[in-house]
Symmetry: C2
Subunit: 224 residues, 2 copies
């Protein structure tokens, strides 16, 4: 009998809070549970951690399984471990949030998994402690997006300044002053204006910008 074997083992799962940004709103992917307990309840997408993969690998696997996308921006939210958090068995779950550009996600695949984009401000009651997970994920994401240029992961590689501003407004839950916002953007040389115009959002058209990661690494000063 080893030192370890006198202790109990438990199931460990990962649950993913997948953020997207569409039509000016911050959204999260949720779906109806396909299994008992809690069959039919709204839930985050998750899966069990296998014995031969790290918890990060597990989260990446679950994300890939759901979205078909790899190398998503992903951060751990934390471990959730009330004894009775899962009505079936003792399961400790580690929550992760990820950011995706909704247009990168094939709608067919989304439907196959039966998940939907729901406005983060209109999330129904979810299975287990998933509402709590989302709350903490939002808080962490909000902090992170203000000090690191991760917001671009929620946008197409080319975006207008109005889109970028709306994204930050959605994340922070408050309107921003257009001129002050653009003034700050202009100071960040790694947010580059292209010669391209996007005319889908207005008649006049707006310049498209891009995030230059290389330039950011040269001079990583970000604050929004």
């Amino acid at each position: 009998m080893t030192y370890y074997s006198q202790h109990a083992k438990v199931w460990v799962s990962v649950d993913c809070i997948i953020f997207g940004f569409d039509e000016g709103k911050l959204r999260v992917l949720i779906g109806r549970r396909h299994m008992d307990p809690g069959r039919g309840e709204w839930s985050l997408y998750g899966g069990f951690v296998r014995s031969d993969e790290s918890i990060n690998d597990a989260a990446n696997r679950v994300l890939f399984d759901l979205t078909g996308l790899r190398n998503l921006y992903m951060r751990q939210v934390g471990a959730f471990g009330s004894v009775d958090r899962d009505p079936g068995e003792r399961v400790i779950s580690i929550a992760y949030y990820a950011l995706i550009n909704v247009k990168d996600y094939e709608d067919e695949l989304r439907k196959e998994h039966g998940v939907e984009w729901v406005n983060v401000d209109e999330i129904p009651e979810l299975y287990s402690d998933h509402n709590e997970m989302i709350k903490k994920a939002r808080k962490l994401m909000r902090q992170k997006i203000s000090s690191e240029p991760i917001g671009f992961r929620l946008l197409p590689s080319l975006f207008t300044l109005s889109q970028l501003q709306k994204l930050y407004e959605a994340v922070h839950g408050e309107d921003l002053d257009k001129r002050n916002f653009r003034k700050r953007i202009k100071e960040m040389d790694f947010i580059e204006k292209t010669g391209l115009i996007d005319k889908t959002g207005s008649k006049r058209g707006a310049y498209l910008y891009r995030f230059n990661k290389r330039a950011y690494n040269q001079d990583p000063n970000f604050k929004l």
Copy 2:
């Protein structure tokens, strides 16, 4: 066979980063491991999560076991789950940091457990991923202590402004301007000057202050 039982279970432990402040330095409790694998290596103090306790309860139990103290300020750092992080078996560990006033910790009890206060800037190589845990704990604690009045948990209930300043300097790793620091303290009405003088730190003596939690809850504006 339930839905759960087709998946593997793993051991889950908690590891505690216990911060203290003494002689102007931020310190952490570490000790030599008493068991294999890794016997004799420097390590954080931890324990396995039992099947009938939440992970928070497990952390509190481990903290109480080591220090004899309850109701410590404690926050989760995150889950660490590389497959081979523990050389013996697959163990996922959830790190917590806690703040204690070193004078509340009986030195006898500390010695019984064979743990020592080590300057956070002089931490030796630790077992497994414990150095990484401390690094992340410091970062989270630094963020937290700037926006919430948790620093008082590292000080006696009566403290001088010089002690408080030294604490913040130790946490942030940089010197602060004495007058600017005191100006900010004066604006926080919940940091109350008592009529008492502490003469242990200087010949002249310094006023002792106390944190008034009730007053803070009335007007929770904290920034340091």
